[in-house]
Subunit: 232 residues, 2 copies
DNA sequence: TGTGTTTTTAAGTAATTTTTAAGAAAAAAA
DNA sequence: TTTTTTTCTTAAAAATTACTTAAAAACACA
């Protein structure tokens, strides 16, 4: 499947180089940035599978960098390297959405295992998502393969292909923002004025179907996208 | 087709009973074991279709039980119930061959959907490239080798080779989507405009034959394929 | 070779799905 | 506030896909 790309941000030059070589030796494609600022630039110019961030760094610390990274990518796994057992660090790390953390000095074997575990988990998770076709949305159950939106024992509402794809994408992001651009590029294969208008029409159609349950609605987040909220 | 048998292994007595009743209410035949040891004994003395295992249990935890279960049956679907954020659990679960996992507390609707999806997947999977040639479709019995579609004691309707192959494929995917493309590539060996028109003609022929039973019909899923529904 | 069976092609119709359009409403920016 | 941008709603036009029937072509077999 091609070796995974890792962004390593570590200001200690000696340690950084050793760690990079060690990971490279284990078949990872590692890019090494020497501080947070450089790390952010590299992150934006590449497509990484995982980030390893030192917490204590000059110019921009690991947490601040993590926040910026999350700004562009909510999915990418992040591992923090913290000094000693800084409880606060750990806590703060999880708030930013750390997938794991390691106290320096750490066992390099353990780091390898954690990397492997996290990457594998992400893979099965995303595979899961890409195959899921049954959803619970309020009182509805929705089957995106049969394109049926059913409520209780009533006759299911049939959906058109695009209606179904769009609702599925909203359901995958249930209660969270589903970016407009994502649906347009994935479902309409193009993001322009007309496809965007077309999508609006489909949102209107879905809203009509979903009226049958008060606790379910599609909210617009101006300029960003839509949010399927399910209060149940 | 008779209700599916589920083995539920959960040590929390309150939660276990509630969950058992909920599943029973949804037409599953549930057996409830109170720990891993009891679960294994019950598993060996019965013939279940699916297992739902709590991970954290006294005497024998869910993973250990899963390993023992896999020792006797490599096919049976297993769903794990894990405590909230135990990411390691998830990973370990997949290593043992989990079909899915749910974090407690979970949405019971979601559990139902997952059970349904997993059981259905197993069914179609095993049906897939099977040598099966006898099918029950509503009041019909269909033998794809003899190309006979019979109802009651009446003289069987003889089918042409293509009619028989197509009906067999629909029957393998009974009540589920049979993708147009699949039939075209497997039966017609080519997927183009003309083979697609040809297939339409065959669908029309099959529909005529199947009219003899009201509870059976071939529905079109626009742009996707056909679904042989059997309400009986 | 002829005959019955099976399969493909054709053509017109029907149904479904998607896009486009245009005015009104709402939200954000100036 | 006024202006600009984005979203909502409805309806009609355009495009795609499916259905029906029948005739032509291909095939199988005596």
């Amino acid at each position: 499947m091609g070796s995974k790309k890792i962004l390593l941000v570590e200001d200690d030059p000696n340690f950084g180089v050793v760690l990079k070589d060690y990971l490279a030796l284990n078949d990872y494609n590692v890019t090494h940035a020497k501080d947070g600022i450089e790390g952010l630039i590299m992150f934006k110019n590449n497509d990484f599978d995982l980030c390893i961030l030192d917490v204590m760094m000059p110019r921009k610390d690991g947490f601040s960098l993590a926040q910026d990274i999350r700004g562009t990518n909510k999915e990418i796994p992040i591992i923090f390297l913290t000094a000693k057992t800084m409880k606060e660090d750990v806590l703060k790390g999880y708030q930013v959405g750390a997938d794991d953390y390691l106290n320096k000095p750490f066992d390099s074997e353990v780091l390898l295992l954690k990397i492997k575990a996290i990457l594998q988990r992400k893979e099965t998770e995303s595979a899961q998502d890409s195959e899921q076709f049954e959803f619970a949305i309020g009182n509805f159950s929705f089957n995106s393969k049969l394109r049926h939106l059913s409520i209780r024992n009533e006759e299911p509402q049939k959906l058109s292909p695009k209606e179904s794809k769009l609702l599925r994408m909203l359901a995958l992001y249930k209660n969270d923002l589903m970016p407009r651009e994502l649906a347009l590029t994935k479902i309409w294969r193009d993001d322009n004025y007309f496809t965007s208008r077309s999508m609006d029409v489909y949102i209107a159609k879905l809203r009509k179907y979903l009226k049958a349950d008060e606790g379910v609605e599609i909210l617009n987040i101006h300029g960003e996208g839509f949010r399927l909220v399910d209060k149940s």
